[in-house]
């Protein structure tokens, strides 16, 4: 056990005992001077006790929820933190009385477990603003671009009255799109110099965006990226219409005009002057051309996000329901993993492992056995649903 782990153990055992959850919740909810501290502690409970996460999330069901949970994702260095900083500044100007939360995730080292949480460096102007609560999280080995407790932290931000919560993911590659299950609206931030149009054709990240930002618009290649992205989105749109078409009837092409199931597809409609904003129809993500560091394009982006908050509310309710289902599945898997790991470490099970090595037991049999053993060792009272 490393020294840091030893420190961690003593830290853990003391703090957990002293933290009376209900007390923290009511203190965080109050407008008193200790509310920030209590909220921060509550967030630590959410992130530090993964085995209690399901229980904590269930207990937080009745807390007020943020009106909008906005995800900001993209590659490392694409400008997510700077965009978040400027977007929050813009929202603060538009709604001086609303509270905003920021959850900023940075990676944990897979080698040492340590982390350098540096997203705040770009957001220090909000540090002393009582209406903005910023929390940095380390991913702690969780793949997918978020941290395991991120959802819990968002709940606490709802509890303390945050109207909008912005979740900034770790710098992602192509497949870390967990943010799509955790946000109402996902902004994908792209910057020039990250590859050609083939990168835009790949599955994963590019499918997760509800809104795209071409950031660093002052860089020379930004216009090229904007064009490639526009082409990609137009291709996606035509593919979507084409796939929705009855199979016997091909998407008709009359000279310069494509005809889809809802009539002609006007290729020229809203074709951008490439400044600031591109949009074709309601189902195609909007594209914003921004230089976040210079606050360019941010006003337009904020306005569009707000407009979407109003127009998509019903759709988001459905999305949140789906997210709840995913949350349950996730909590169950986490619990199973925990119990199976514990069962494997129990005395007596060495024989089983020896059996596997000797080829006397099949892996399937052992897996079956462990799952039965883990499930039968139920730790909580059976679930009852009140019929009334």
């Amino acid at each position: 056990m490393s020294v840091a782990q030893r420190v961690a153990v003593s830290w853990h055992s003391v703090t957990v005992m002293e933290r009376n959850l209900d007390e923290l919740v009511s203190e965080a909810r109050s407008a008193g001077p200790r509310s920030q501290r209590a909220a921060a502690r509550l967030m630590s409970v959410m992130t530090d006790q993964p085995h209690r996460l399901a229980e904590l999330l269930a207990g937080s069901r009745d807390w007020p929820q943020p009106r909008l949970v906005l995800g900001v994702t993209g590659a490392p260095g694409s400008g997510k933190s700077t965009l978040t900083d400027h977007l929050v500044a813009e929202l603060r100007t538009r709604h001086p009385h609303s509270k905003i939360g920021i959850v900023a995730v940075d990676p944990s080292s897979p080698f040492t477990g340590g982390a350098l949480l540096g997203d705040r460096v770009r957001m220090m102007r909000h540090a002393t603003d009582p209406q903005v609560f910023i929390r940095s999280l380390a991913s702690r080995g969780h793949l997918g671009g978020l941290a395991l407790g991120a959802k819990g932290v968002v709940r606490v931000m709802g509890l303390i009255g945050c109207d909008v919560v912005v979740i900034e993911t770790v710098g992602v590659g192509q497949s870390e799109v967990e943010i799509a299950q955790n946000a109402d609206l996902v902004v994908v931030v792209l910057a020039p110099g990250q590859g050609d149009s083939i990168q835009l054709l790949k599955a994963g990240l590019m499918e997760a965006g509800d809104v795209f930002v071409v950031n660093k618009s002052d860089k020379p290649d930004a216009l090229q990226l904007q064009r490639e992205l526009a082409t990609m989105l137009e291709r996606s749109r035509i593919a979507r219409l084409d796939l929705a078409h009855p199979s016997a009837v091909p998407l008709a092409c009359h000279g310069p005009q494509l005809v889809g199931p809802e009539g002609p597809i006007d290729m020229q409609r809203d074709r951008p002057p490439p400044a600031v904003r591109t949009v074709w129809d309601d189902d195609t993500p909007q594209v914003f051309f921004c230089s976040a560091a210079n606050h360019e394009g941010i006003k337009e982006l904020a306005a569009a996000l707000e407009q979407m908050t109003h127009s998509h509310a019903a759709q988001w309710q459905a999305r949140r329901r789906r997210q709840a289902a995913a949350e349950i599945r996730h909590a169950v898997l986490e619990e199973v993993q925990r119990r199976v790991t514990a069962a494997l470490q129990q005395n007596g099970n060495e024989e089983l492992i020896e059996g596997i090595l000797a080829g006397e037991i099949s892996l399937d049999q052992l897996a079956d056995h462990l799952m039965r053993e883990s499930v039968s060792r139920s730790q909580t009272s059976p679930l009852s649903v009140d019929a009334s």
Binding site: R6, S10, V14, Q36, R37, P50, A115, M124, A127
Partner: protein, 137 residues
């Protein structure tokens, strides 16, 4: 495998000097020692640092200073922590601090002062020792 969470630390530079080599180096060695380190960057006010420490629920704050204003700025951070009911957050410091000022800083409540040339291992072990001490006190 379930691992207990590690204490979170904050490394910040209050005041007006922009020499962040030391702060970044200490942030890195603490990161490599397995801590989660919130880094605030240069030229921060004591208010920004204390508000950040509270929101981030850190166990300790490390202040790096090369401007000579350590007595005033460390004192202000400690004062703000007390006024926010967060005096349990440890404060340590480093930078070009004359040895004659160290006793006074410790008297004010700074838990440790690391001057240039302090070995990395000593910094990590001192901080770990202080955290264990604080938790079992």
């Amino acid at each position: 495998m379930e691992q207990p969470p590690k204490p979170r630390l904050l490394i910040g530079k209050p005041g007006l000097d922009g020499h962040d080599r030391g702060a970044k180096y200490v942030a890195q060695i603490l990161r490599d020692a397995g801590f989660e380190v919130v880094y605030t960057g240069i030229r921060r006010s004591p208010e920004q640092i204390v508000d950040t420490a509270i929101q981030e629920d850190v166990a300790a704050i490390g202040l790096s200073l090369l401007s000579g204003a350590h007595n005033a700025l460390f004192g202000r951070v400690l004062e703000l922590l007390r006024s926010r009911g967060a005096e349990d957050i440890l404060v340590f410091g480093g930078g070009t601090i004359p040895p004659k000022d160290v006793p006074r800083l410790k008297e004010m409540g700074v838990a440790a002062v690391f001057t240039p040339g302090t070995p990395a291992r000593q910094i990590v072990e001192t901080i770990e020792g202080l955290l264990v001490q604080r938790q079992t006190a």
